[in-house]
């Protein structure tokens, strides 16, 4: 039993039909035409059929011979040897027996190549002979007769080729005129297909059947091995398929995690702290005087009616904070010069920055060589609009060490910007109550120009001494990461970072900086 795919099956059927009409061998092109496919579509099938000894393939080479432009001209105007012969005939009638070669060339009005070819042929037929520089004219009747026969033969051959002629092989006369450049010869390969005796027998006995065509591969076909007897319907690769938006991690959280990876790669350890914070950690430890405008109800969310226990171990710290605010002695400073109020320091607020987390980290660890960061939410009273939110993320970091210097802080910003693909960083002097010197770093936004993104500085001694840091410097920075996220994610409205519409989230493309790390 032969199970053939649909194309092979139709090849065999077609050949059988020709066979029944008495045609045992069919040209490939005709065969392909009769089953309505292109030649190259069935080549593989023919090879398979031949391998299974159902067909025989005969490969034949033929030649299509056709007069070219030169041949056509000679046929119309006469061959060079014919023209030279006439010239000689004319000279002979004038009684000339001998003529100089160059003079004959001039008289004949042939090109020098035509002339030498023609002269050679006339010499072969004994119509001339050449000695020294002279051509001798020998118009012997017999020889002229032979030459005429040659000319007639050649002319009729050329005429016969003027419309092209297909031949199985090239004879001497064709080879000789090809050499003289009268004709073009094209090789044509033909493939003839015929059924073998095996095939004819199998057809007769009904042993040749078509395979089933399937569109879906079923588990049954796979496990039963039935797939061997079926044909897979060809799939149109250009067919439109629906687009599926995958369940996604939120692009903003992904960005924040990317930032975490960047900062940890620079040797920072992540720390966390409470969202609801004592003013102490958020402001007082940071040497922000209690009457500073940034501590007013316009800038800070205050908490209603809860109390938070304070560890008694913190009493020493409280005393030191009071000292630096009031007189500054502890830190060799002159202090702010006002009476510090413990009750204000112990009020609860929503932290306005994560610098409170850095304060707690330094208080816990003290002196040493270390780097910490935190990346969490901070809160400031605001009404949401495209550039403001009442709640946003801050990336906060400290580099602690004996020889940590201001230039290292600037170096950190440059390196961090490079990691995030933010380009050049511009530095300007800035003021923050808790750092000195202080800096603001700017990067270039594609649409907004230079924007402030990197605030930082060296923590003041008034900040560090109460935390028991005397022999170390601390470089610190607190970056509003949302602004950078907007740049990287190409978002113009800060509220879109916190978008919760799946319509939006699922369609966001992953930014290159996150993809490329």
């Amino acid at each position: 039993m032969y199970r053939l795919n649909s194309r092979q099956y139709s090849v065999v059927n077609a050949l059988k039909k020709y066979y029944d009409e008495g045609i045992t061998s069919v040209d490939l092109r005709e065969l392909a035409g009769s089953i309505g496919v292109n030649v190259h579509d069935i080549m593989r099938d023919l090879a398979e059929l031949e391998m299974r000894n159902l067909i025989r393939l005969r490969r034949i080479t033929k030649y299509v011979v056709r007069l070219n432009e030169l041949g056509v001209n000679y046929l119309r105007d006469g061959l060079p040897e014919f023209k030279l012969f006439h010239t000689l005939l004319g000279l002979s009638l004038k009684g000339v027996k001998k003529v100089k070669v160059d003079e004959l060339l001039r008289t004949s009005s042939l090109s020098s190549e035509e002339f030498s070819a023609a002269l050679g042929i006339l010499r072969r037929y004994g119509i001339t002979s050449i000695s020294k520089n002279y051509v001798e004219v020998l118009l012997d009747d017999i020889k002229v007769g032979e030459f005429s026969k040659y000319l007639d033969g050649l002319n009729s051959l050329l005429r016969g080729l003027s419309n092209g002629l297909t031949v199985d092989s090239l004879d001497d006369s064709l080879i000789s005129i090809r050499r003289r450049g009268f004709i073009n010869i094209n090789e044509v390969k033909e493939l003839w297909v015929e059924l073998t005796d095996d095939a004819l027998r199998a057809v007769k006995e009904g042993l040749i059947v078509a395979k089933e065509v399937i569109t879906v591969l079923t588990p049954n076909l796979i496990s039963s091995g039935g797939w061997k007897n079926v044909e897979f319907k060809e799939f149109d690769l250009n067919v439109e398929v629906p687009l599926i938006y995958p369940n996604r991690k939120h692009p903003y959280i992904e960005f924040l995690n990317h930032v975490r990876d960047v900062v940890t790669s620079m040797g920072f350890e992540e720390v966390k702290g409470p969202h609801v914070e004592f003013e102490l950690w958020n402001f007082d430890v940071l040497y922000l005087p209690q009457h500073h405008p940034a501590r007013s109800v316009n800038d800070v969310y205050f908490i209603k009616e809860v109390s938070q226990p304070l560890p008694t171990s913190i009493n020493t710290l409280l005393g030191k904070v009071r000292d630096v605010h009031e007189r500054g002695d502890l830190a060799n400073s002159i202090g702010w010069g006002y009476r510090w109020d413990l009750r204000k320091a112990l009020r609860l607020i929503l932290r306005t920055h994560t610098t409170s987390v850095s304060m707690r980290a330094i208080y816990e660890r003290g002196e040493g060589e270390y780097r910490c960061f935190s990346l969490d939410r901070v809160f400031r009273p605001d009404t949401p609009d495209p550039t403001h939110l009442m709640e946003f993320h801050q990336l906060e970091g400290i580099i602690v060490g004996r020889d940590v210097a201001f230039k290292h802080l600037l170096g950190f910003f440059k390196e961090f910007a490079r990691h995030l693909g933010l380009g050049e960083v511009l530095f300007k002097p800035a003021y923050f109550p808790f750092t000195e010197p202080s800096v603001e770093g700017y990067v270039k936004h594609p649409r907004l120009g230079w924007i402030e993104v990197f605030p930082g500085g060296m923590f003041r001694p008034e900040v560090l001494r109460p935390l028991n840091v005397v022999n170390c410097n601390v470089a610190a920075w607190g970056i509003g990461i949302d602004r950078i996220a907007m740049m990287v994610l190409d978002i113009d409205d800060i509220r879109d970072l916190y978008a919760n519409s799946l319509e939006v989230i699922k369609k966001i493309k992953i930014p290159k900086t996150v993809l490329g790390g």
């Binding site: 908490i303 009442m390 002097p429 010197p437 008034e462």
Partner: protein, 548 residues
Amino acid sequence: MPTIEVSLSDVERIAKTYISYEDLERNLSKLKCEVVEVRGGKLIYEASYDRPDLFSAEGLGRALRGLLGREVGFKELSLEDSEVEIIASNKPSYRPYVLGAIVRGLKLDDEVITQIFQLQEKVHFSYCGDRALVAVGIHDFSNVVPPIYYKSVAEYTFKPLGYDCLMSIKEILNNIDKGVKYRHLVRDGEYPLLVDSAGTVLSMPPIINGEYTRITSNTKEIFIDITGTELELMFRVMNLVIGALIERGNEVELLKVRVVDGGKIIWSPKYYSRTAELRLSSVRNLLGIEFTLDEVISYLKTAGFNVRSLNGELLLVSVPPYRVDVMHEVDLIEEVVTMYGYERVDVNVPPPTHAGRIHPLEKFSRVIRDLMIGLGYSESVNFMLVDVEFLNALGVNGYISLENPKMKAYSAVRNSLIPSLLQSVKINSAFFKTIKLFEVGDVVYVSSSGVNSIRKVGAVASGEEVTLTDMLILLKSLMHALGVDYSLRSYEDPVMINGRCGEVIVDDLNVGVVGEVHPRILNYLDLVMPVAIMELDLSALLRLITGF
């Protein structure tokens, strides 16, 4: 940052030089100021809080005089004694301090007067606790009859500044703007008053001055009064004001006004420059730049300090009295590097000393987020601030509310992700029939032990076929992946249907809740599809898993 407006020609007059726009841009940035606008001869700039000496044309002109090389360092001036006294025997108890000084030899014009008022206003707001701690009054001294009395009165009648009629204190506090704005700073029947011996009111601090001592372009002699609750701050504010006025005359004289109580001098202004020590090694250590001693001296002089070198290491820096921002050596070090120029610093970041790492809770959160995505849920992000009314409608307890919310929508801190997730469902319900969302986020929970930030994961499914089973499957799958054994116990939650809600127990500890949302709440939110919710405490789970 305070926004200051000055006349460019006035600044040039003080700086003693022509100032181009480029000069402004470059040098204001060195002063931590930022040019906002230059138009029609006016310069508007933002100054930083630490430099109240730059809150008017006088200080800016003086600073530019140094930066542009016209005059480096500063001229030492000292206070002369005078016979003028402020008698403070009957001072108000709640605002006990007063200071006075006289500046002579001034040449004022309208622009100068504008600048003095601007300085006063900006210093009040940013440096004096908006007059609560310190208040400044500036007067024409020519008509004042000393001694001056600082006293507490129950009532008085005078012409307040800018008014041509006599008013009682009550009228002032109730009818004029400044009175209404600052009356919370005075006590009923115990009003502070500065009057001279002729009974003329100079000022009712910290509310308003008297009209009688108003300064004009003819004023040659100014009396400065400072009152307040913080004496040390008052000294500094006095120095700021004197520091500005001395730029307004060629031969300015400063006179000390003594404050007398019970026949004894209790204090008088301290307009003295202070000497600070600065070590070259400290400069180099903090900045990481190997400056020479000469460079440091030159930069400090440009910045307006007088400097003497004691030896190759130690500098004695004379700090002008109006430079109240200089509290510590580090403030001088900053002056050095700003004068040098941040753009010239050769920066680098030393290699890390330790391997970095993300917080265990963040690491755990990443794992949870991966699992949730794998389980077919999409991530959402919500604000931690929520509507207190919404929490009340849900019946939620134990959250923190804000004392000063700006919008009702953000008036409380969430203590659970469930309200946020319900809102996320609502946002998406118009577009999707089936919704599966999760959030990993922080909440703030209030209990008897105090206030705590907690990391949680919450998940919500909504759709026609959704039941509690969906959440039970999710919970089981998640816990299985984490290798945590848990049990469920029937639970009552105001958000869930009774009998279709359970608490998740691990090691006898409640670590979460799972349930089907009550239709009452779905109605409230205008949701029509059933909703099932789960929430787990990741902080607690991480402790249980890792043993920390």
